[in-house]
Structures are given as C-alpha cells and as structure tokens.
C-alpha cells in the first residue's frame, strides 16, 4: 500500500495542483476502489454505525513525527455511504468533545436503536484513540508523552489545557472529514479556545508566544489534504474559522486569539483555512487595521460579516437570542448556528433568470402593455419557479447520520438522529444567482420598450433566442452601458427590494418535515455554471455567458455606491442566507489608503451592509499568472465565497477574474 500513497506527505497541495475538477474526484474514487473493497463489503451489510466501527478498526493511523499535534485522514477508508441527502456544509460542535470525555458521552442504558448506534460511534472513536496511542508509543514523535496523555484524557475527562483543546478540535475535525462530511467548518475558535488560553496563562502553564506557535501549526495542519477537502473547485473546502462577535449590549467581543489568527493567516499566506471576521460598529480600529492589512496581502481572508444586520435577522426568523449572537457560517457565507444546526444552507440554487426566460418563451407578450404589468408577470413566473424549488426540497430525504449526531447539540438529549430532527435547528436554505442580471433586464425593458419605445418585446425575444444575431450593435450597446444593479438610484433599490420581497412571499409558507423554514440569499457560487445553458438576456449577456458575481462593483469609484445599494436592501424575514458584496481592489489601494479604507468599512457596517469579501489583485498579475502559472504558484484569489490558488482554477474562472480586474482598474469598458 505504502508505495502508492502516504497520508500527510503526498497530500501536499502543490503535488495535486493539476488535479482540477473531475480528475481530482476520479482519482479519489479510484483510491477507494483499490483499497477499500474489503471494508466496503463489511459495512455495506451493517448500519452506518457498523461501518464506522469497521473504519476505525481498519483505517491507517498516521503520526507525523514533526508535528506536535496528531491529524490524519485516510481517504481510502472514508465512510461515504450515501443514503439520501448528504450532510455537509456544516460546523460540528467541537465544544461537545472539549467539555466531555468520550466515555461520558455514552448512553449507560441504550434503549433505542439510535442510542445503540450512537454508542457504537463512541466505541469506534475509542478504538481509534486506542490505536493512535499505540502508534504514538511506537513512534519517535515530538512530545510523545504529552500526546499519549492527551489521547488518554480524551477517553476519560474533559480537556483541561489549551493545547489539549487544539488536539481535540483536530480530532473531531478529522473524524468529520474521514466520514466524508464535505465542507466542514471550524466555528468561532477565538471564543471557544479563550477560556483554556486564559486559564493556562494565569497558571503559567503556557504563554502568548507558545500559543501562537501552536496555532500556527494548527493552521498548517488543517491546510493539509487541501485537494481531498476541496469540493467543487480546488480551495472550496469550507474550512472557515469565525472570529470576533458581539455582546448582548452590542459591545464588540474579541480577544488576543482573534488577533493571533489574523496575524498568522497573514504570515502563512495559505488560502486555507479561511477566516470570517464578525464586525459591528464598535469593532476597534486596531482590529480593522489588522484585518485589512491581512486581506491587503492578497491572502483572501477575512471576509467581513455584519453582526448588526445578521443577528436581528436571525432572531426574527426564530433563532434564540443567544444562538443568534453566536452565529457562524456555512462554507461560504450563509449564517449557521454552529453545532446546533443541521440546516443545509445551499440545498439548491434559485436562478432568477429562468423565470425571465420562461416569460419570453411562453407568455403572450403583446398583452403586457405597461412596465408594471411586465414586472408582475415576471413575478408570477418567479412564483412558479419557486414552487419547483420547494418541491425539490420537500422530496429531499436525509442520510441517517449518527456520526454527525454525536457532534450536534440536542441529538443526544433527544435521543434522535440529526436526520430525524435531533438538532435544534433544521431549516432549509437556498442561494440565488442572476438577480443582478434580471434587474438590468427589467430596467432596460422599462427604458427601451415602455419609455423610449425603441424595441418591442417581440424584437427583444428575437434577440434573446437568436443570441443577438444580426443585432450585434444592440448587444454591444447594452453590454457597455453603465449598469443599474448595484447603484444607489432609488428606482434600482426599490425594484430589487420588490423582487426580494416577492421571493419571500413565495417561500415563507414552506415547512420541511421537522418544521424547518426556508431562507434564501443573494449570493451563490454558481454564477458561471448556472448560466451555461441559458439564453442570451436583454442586458447584453450572450448565450451561456456568466451572470453577475454576487453584489459586485465594476469600477474603483463605485465602492460607496455599492455599499449604499447593499445597505438599502432589506435582509429581514427569510432573506439572510448569505448576501455578500464582492469588491475588486488593487493591492496598492488598501495599502496607500488604510485609514480611509477603515472609514469606508465602518460606514458600510453602520449603514447596514450584510457581508463583504474582497479580491485584492491587479489585472496585470492575473494576466501574467494565467500565461505563466509556474511563476505564480502562490497567487491567491477569492472565488465564490472561498479563497484558492489562482493556478488551480479552470480557465473560465481565471478569465472572469481578469475581466473584472481590468474593469475595476478602468482598463476595459
């Protein structure tokens, strides 16, 4: 076996750089076929819990002697039996295994089949812990005695020290990946770890410097298996560490670990794990500067998330106050109550252009005599589309998942699996694309059809269906005019709000079988893929061309405009499932204007933007990196809601970033 792969070594991202898209996944499947035949036979016959136990007994244990912590994934033995909708894109409760030992978690009198399975999962982990201890004993590893003690404690008592807590987080995280829970988040680590830090420093057990070194290693360890952890594209791992937060009275909550994480990500220059910084009006200047300096280096982190908008939205939706205040996010941006929620936040994507396309293809266009009638008609088609979306959600069945259930609050108490409503929150989330394009289309129709009467709807239909054949100059004109979407014109804002409100109207009655509600947001990763088989649209977009990226700016002087626009939208009711502004910024711009940039961000937060991420790149660098990838192995960009190495991206993603960068620098119309 050994000559083919050695976990931890040949996982290095660099070695797998070229494994993009399909080849990555295919290779992973091949590994499984070669190694796991026997294993699959065993667990195909029993329950998932039996499979888990089998996995714990058989998977390779790998101790990297250079690290002070233990972490390994044996993807040949990954447990991935799919029985329905797979759980992923979640953050487990690491806290459960920090404040309990494995043996404490076990039911003493397992009465139901779930409890029996639950105990099997704990047994499996105990077995794995035992095997890890054996392996450490026979190794030459750093901190041998400490490691043995940490794992022995894991079986019998809660974590006591900071370093022990780190090891347990790694252990839980490793179990999640090992059991194929894709896009596993890391949660609010600065908050979770601080009590251990504080106690250890007080008693002299550790100090600031040691802790920082341990966190550095922690991040480096989590960066391993980069390609295995990547989902749709390289870098799409969902490994987000949430930092900062808000107290009940609105004060900003942060600590020394918040700063250390920001410093370390800046130093390490790795695209993964990623950071999300929660902010509010009271976030101190110092934290803003650290965060902006970090992102100014081009590392892609942190993304900013506005507590002042998100917490009230969560509460109004029915999330308990304290849970709302401790929110984290799923892989990209969608707010998620870590460890308490199995809400799948990205179950499907609503494509706002689809109803527009249907309208043009099916509607009797001549009957739409006013712009208002046209808009109402679009909304009717939107409603039909959303009915289809709701049907998809209703039909979804979830995978029985006792492993996840161990790490989700509530399952143990209720003696219920996460998939049977064991978790406290079980909502459904969808993302959306192309609202920006639809707003553009609507306002163009208002202007050219109903006001200036340059075209009829029938002519527009022809443009769309023929991909602007013979009407290239119209296409160019539409494409090059200043966009409406993202400007702070009252008309644009009102129309956007109207479509969002309509989306709520069609979705708010939905309940899944556990009473969970449906939420949506304006950001989705699919702005390229969802557009592939879509007809041209009356905003100059040609057949198959990508949609607008999130809520994004086109030029460097539109930052304030887009902040005004985004903060004028209403994210209440169920409209909070990730609404990210995507800035293109040149590296100099932040560096040379730090104080002004801090002001800009603070005002944006105060005015009420939802979330914000930045691509800090210059078009020149991107173009050179595309032509000559070897010279830019470490160039990091932000795609969807994650950061990744530029050279790992498929060409259409590279081109999209280049064209946005050119526009931002005023180099392309």
């Amino acid at each position: 076996m050994k000559d083919i792969y050695i976990p931890g070594l040949d996982e290095d991202a660099r070695l797998h750089k070229k494994k993009q898209d399909g080849s990555l996944l295919r290779e992973r499947e091949d590994y499984k076929k070669i190694y796991a035949k026997e294993f699959f036979n065993v667990y195909n016959e029993g329950t998932v819990a039996d499979g888990f136990v089998c996995m714990c007994r058989n998977q390779r244990i790998y101790i990297d002697e250079n690290w002070q912590f233990v972490y390994f994934i044996d993807y040949a033995y990954a447990l991935d039996k799919i029985r329905g909708y797979r759980f992923g894109n979640l953050t487990p409760s690491y806290e459960i295994l920090l404040s309990h030992s494995l043996s404490e978690l076990k039911y003493s009198d397992p009465a139901t089949p779930f409890c029996v399975d639950y105990n099997k999962i704990i047994d499996g982990m105990e077995c794995m812990v035992q095997r890890i201890i054996e392996e450490i004993r026979h190794s030459n590893t750093k901190r041998l005695a400490d490691k043995i003690k940490w794992f022995e404690n894991l079986r019998i008592k809660p974590a006591k020290h900071f370093e022990e807590a780190l090891q347990r987080i790694l252990f839980v995280n490793q179990i999640m990946w090992q059991t194929d829970h894709y896009l596993t988040g890391l949660g609010s680590l600065d908050q979770l770890l601080y009590p251990y830090y504080e106690r250890d420093v007080k008693t002299g057990y550790t100090d600031e410097k040691t802790v920082k070194e341990q966190l550095r290693e922690f991040l480096q360890i989590l960066h391993q298996y980069y390609w295995y952890k990547s989902s749709m594209l390289m870098g799409d791992t969902g490994q987000i560490i949430v930092l900062g937060g808000s107290e009940k009275e609105g004060n900003y909550r942060y600590n020394i670990l918040t700063e250390q994480f920001l410093d370390l990500v800046q130093e390490l220059q790795l695209p993964d794990p990623k950071l999300l910084l929660r902010v509010n009006e009271k976030t101190p200047e110092k934290i803003w500067k650290k965060a902006l300096t970090c992102i100014g280096t081009g590392v892609g982190s942190p993304i900013f998330s506005n507590d002042q908008v998100i917490i009230p939205a969560l509460e109004a939706f029915g999330i308990e106050e304290e849970d709302a205040r401790s929110y984290g996010v799923s892989a990209c941006w969608e707010p998620l109550i870590a460890g308490k929620s199995v809400s799948l936040n990205n179950m499907t994507t609503l494509n706002y252009m689809r109803p527009m396309e249907n309208l043009f293809r099916r509607e009797q266009l001549s009957r739409l005599e006013t712009f208002d009638e046209f808009t109402e008609c679009y909304i009717t088609y939107l409603g039909r589309n959303l009915n289809a979306v709701k049907r998809v959600l209703t039909n979804a069945r979830f995978q029985y998942d006792p492993v996840l259930s161990v790490f989700i609050d509530g399952c143990r108490e209720k003696q219920k699996d996460a998939s049977w409503g064991g978790a406290k929150y079980f909502h459904a989330g969808i993302t959306s694309v192309a609202l920006g394009n639809v707003i553009e289309v609507l306002l163009n129709i208002k202007k050219y059809v109903y006001e200036e009467k340059n075209y009829s709807l029938i002519e527009i239909k022809r443009m769309i269906l023929t991909n602007y054949e013979g009407m290239e100059s119209e296409q160019k004109k539409l494409k090059s005019k200043k966009r409406y979407f993202g400007t702070d014109e009252e008309e644009v804002i009102q129309l956007t709000k109207k479509i969002m409100a309509a989306t709520t109207r069609f979705t708010k009655d939905y309940r899944n079988e556990y009473g969970g509600k449906l939420k949506f947001g304006l950001s989705a990763p699919t702005y390229i893929d969802a557009a592939v088989d879509m007809y041209a649209s009356f905003d100059g977009r040609k057949y198959g061309a990508p949609f607008v990226v999130h809520i994004s700016n086109e030029t460097a002087d539109s930052y304030t405009e887009i902040l005004n626009f985004a903060s004028a939208l209403d994210y209440g009711e169920n409209r909070f499932n990730g609404n990210v502004i995507d800035f293109m910024v040149t590296p100099d711009f932040i560096r040379n204007n730090m104080d002004k940039f801090v002001t800009l961000m603070k005002v944006g937060i105060k005015k009420g933007i939802f979330q914000l991420q930045m691509n800090v790149v210059s078009s020149e660098t991107l173009i050179r990196a595309k032509e000559n990838p070897e010279a830019f192995p470490n160039l990091i960009v932000r795609v969807w809601g994650f950061s990744a190495f530029f050279i790992d991206l498929p060409d259409n993603y590279k081109d999209m970033l280049i064209s946005r960068a050119l526009k931002n620098e005023g180099k392309e119309g």
């Binding site: 004109k477 090059s480 002087d557 930052y559 005004n564 002001t599 105060k606 005015k607």
Partner: protein, 253 residues
Amino acid sequence: MEHLVTNIQRMCMQDGPGIRTTVFMKGCGIHCPWCSNPENLLFEKEEYARADGKGVYGRSYSIDELYQEIIKDKAYWNPDGGVTFSGGEALLHMDFLRALFQRFKDQGVHLAVETSLFVPERLVQDALKYVDFFYVDVKILDAEKCRTLLGGDSMLYRRNVDTLSHSGKKICFRIPCAEQYTLQEDNKELVLKFVKQYREIPIEIFKLHRMGESKYQSLRKQMIEDDDCSDMAFKDFFEHLKQQGNHVSVIRL
C-alpha cells in the same frame, strides 16, 4: 457662460483629506499643454466619439440636482472627508456654485477646490467664504512664457496666491512635473524661489500621466508627446525642495 459638469467621481482618495466626492466642472481659463482633462477646457458641450459610441461631454444640473447627487456619500465624509470641486477651473464657476457651497457650508461639510488660480480676484475672495481647503497648481511663472504657453496672467496668479496665503485657510501646492515645461531649468528656478516664500504650505509633486490620451482621441485632438519627466530630474527636484525647507511629498494621480 454655461455651468456644466463632466463627472462626479465618488470615493476619491487623493483629492484632500478623508473620503471625498469630486465634481469636475467644464471650462478652464487657461490651456496647459499637458492638460489631462481636455474635455474640461471649453465651457460648452462637446460631442465625442469612442469605440463604444458617441456621446456628449458636459451635463447641466440644477443646483438641487447636483446637491442630491453629491450628498449620497455624506455618510462616508466623517471624520474629515467632504466634497472637492475640480475641473477645468472650478473657481470660474463660482457664481453658479455659490448657492451649493452655501448649502454644504450650512451642513458643516468640508469643501475643497482644485484651482490654477488664474481667475479674477473677486472670485477668490468669494470662495474664501466657503472653501476650507485649496489645492493650488504651481506651473509656469515667467510672465512672458506664462502668457504664451498657458494664456495666463502670472501677476494675477501671484496676487491670488498671496491673498490665499494670508487667509488662514489650508492650502497645498501641486506641481505637475515635465522636463520640457515646469522643470525646464529657468522655470524650475522660479518655482523653487516662489515656493520658498511659502514654506508653511505643503507641496505635492507628481509626474504627468497619459490617462487623458483616450479623451483627446475621443475629441479628435492630439495629446502632446513631450510631457515626460525622468526619475532623475524628478528626484532632483524633490531633493531641492526638501533642502530649501519645503514640506514635499510625491503623489501619483
């Protein structure tokens, strides 16, 4: 005279303290050979033709329309940002802008102006009532050359600088550097001598850029070619200013 606006640029980081909105007024009293805003020289509307279509430089606004457009970014002007009027020559539009200035002043908005100061003295006096910060160009100082090259009256300019310098308002000099023009040996000496009298006024120097070239093309005009400045000449000028006790910094526009 029409009072047209060619551009309202939001979130300017270079046109004064804080985050600012800069308004470009159309029309200028002089004609610097290296001007990078050729669309702002004449006071009337001008047609242009670009690859993506034809259009018109210059749009007329009522004071209220202009106010509504600018005020959108008010939230970003704290603590020290505001509005900058540029051009062309912003001060030549004083009679039009006065009401707008008053409105901003009443609201405590910080106002700045970029000016060449080749304007009648009464306009400067008037502007002093409203404007908090002046960017003043220093260009060609020899009377004869100033008239032929720029079409400006250098005595008027000097008087205006003097007036400003005694006003107690914040001022910053801006010197565009081109070896054939401003840094040409004789003129350079004159500039050095001139700014030496105003050592309390900080100076920003910059190299000319050719960003305006496409605008020249769109107006079917030719941009001059001899507007460059070697690093050496630029650095040398910088050092000279520093040596004689001026506060100088380099900016990139």
